[in-house]
Amino acid sequence: MRLRVRGEVTHGTFTLAAQVDVRLRGVTALVGASGAGKSTFLRLIGGFEPRAAADVEVAGEQWQGATSAKATLPAHARAVGMVFQEPRLFPHLDARGNLRFAARAGRKRQGARLTLEEVVRFLDLAPLLALRPHQLSGGQRQRVALGRALLTPAKLWLFDEPLSALDAKSRQEIAPYLHRLCRRHAVPIVYVSHSLPEVLSIADQVLVAADGHVAEVPSIADFSTSFTNPLLGEEAGAVVACRFRNYDSRYHLSELAFGAATLFVPGDLGDAEPVVRLHIPARDVSLATAPVRHVSILNQVAGEIEALREQGDSVLARVRCGEQKLLARVTHRSVDQLGLRVGTQVQALIKSVAVRAADV
């Protein structure tokens, strides 16, 4: 399914310029720092920026025309299921009422929808059905809101930072549902986030919003290790694709093929797709100039430093390991003592616990 967005949205002094023509499949992450225009982009697709001078085309259907108001479909006629940062549940209805409201609406729209039973089962909503929004916890509310969005006929699901307003505990509670949804369902998803690790483990492709521009990045792996990546902060890390080899039940470790090397990851990943995507935070990768023996770290990958960049008190090193790339965060002192420079042959030591699977 193709999504084309071309044009501008202006709010006071802020202007978002979008130039996107992307084939949506699976999960499309839209990342960017706050204020970069991510939500505005999503609202434009959802129909909440009717005055914007922009063309929006979804699956060959024109939803919005830059020059003609006639070509602009009102929000309720657009086949999207939208999850906002806040749950936005209807306060005068209980959870069941909120879900039914959605299940009965939107009959004139075309698109896939789940049944009420499916949604209740999928999100474990049964115990919450009789409760009013104010009786639910933040995470539960957002779960109901997610369910509500899945009940409306949609060609496209738009998730606007659905976890950002939640505390860590609620986030952990709802994240698995979101991830399962992202991996298993046929409706393409555009998932907005300001956190790379949150989306890179589930994204099939990435759009980046920066300084009011939204555009597609060709490769997630390249994007995650690129020094021009606007999100290269504390959470900097590489996204790599590995092939599942086998599961060692004695040590509860999965063995993954990472180019020519082998990575050990806790847990059995054999149920997932054959290709497992991992997010390896730069802060959990150390560098050595020779293979290290007698060390508890399981994962040691040979590579060559491709680029170095100072970042505050530390240095980010991009290490090429065959076809794949890793990021490592090291100190200035280590750079000097080990003589690290572009072209240095190194061993990247990855703490196995830091390897994050897509399916947790």
Partner: protein, 215 residues
């Protein structure tokens, strides 16, 4: 006719008038208030001003023009509504409109746009959003507006005098009956009506401010 029966009849006409007026107002006002609260149209200020006219004009001015409009040979379909109960209802609706539309519009102005967007994203059209979301979420405000509209209609005088006249059982309402009593120097009868209206107004307003304050 004995005096108590006259008062009872005037009370009956007043109650009926207030009920009919409130019923009509509660059909007309919510959409109008919603439009005023949410539109970006350049017409908003003008429409709001017209709605609010009865707040500032002497009721006799409105009554005068309504009388001309509703007269037997008047411009409104030529239906002779002046000096009838029907004419009184129309006058009351006009006169009480701002007391219903005003509070409703302020309640609607603070309606959560986020919820309306969520409803839109679920495929609910604007009309259905209003009927199934806005109205149920503003139950208290609606009840308060209805109570105020009712009470205000009970208390009107000038417009009734102009277009209703003083026909017992048809257009003689309590405020007119009170005026009659005072003119006839029947202060005892006047007290019954006046004190009754004071008690009624006080009860209604207390109820409204106690139970129907938004949030």
């Amino acid at each position: 006719m004995n005096l108590d029966a006259d008062i009872a009849q005037a009370a009956w006409v007043t109650g009926l008038l207030a009920l009919a007026t409130t019923a009509l107002l509660m059909i007309l006002s919510p959409p109008l208030a919603w439009w005023i609260a949410r539109t970006r149209s350049a017409w908003r200020a003008w429409v709001e001003a017209v709605t609010a006219l009865p707040l500032v004009l002497p009721p006799t001015v409105l009554g005068f023009y309504l009388l001309l409009a509703l007269a037997p040979a008047g411009p409104v379909l030529g239906i002779p509504l002046a000096f009838t109960f029907g004419g009184l209802v129309i006058g009351s609706v006009v006169y009480s409109l701002p007391f219903v539309v005003g509070p409703l519009a302020s309640a609607f102005r603070t309606a959560d746009t986020g919820l309306l967007e969520a409803a839109a994203s679920l495929g609910i059209a604007p009309g259905a959003r209003f009927l199934r979301l806005v109205l149920p979420m503003h139950g208290k405000a609606l009840l308060a507006a209805a109570v105020l509209g009712f009470a205000h209609t009970v208390g009107e005088f000038g417009i009734v005098l102009m277009i209703g006249g003083n026909i017992p059982g048809e257009t003689r309402v309590l405020s007119i009956a009170l005026f009659d009593r005072v003119e006839m120097l029947d202060y005892a009868g006047a007290h019954v009506i006046a004190a009754g209206l004071v008690v009624f107004a006080l009860a209604v307003l207390t109820f409204t401010y106690r139970w129907l304050r938004p949030r």
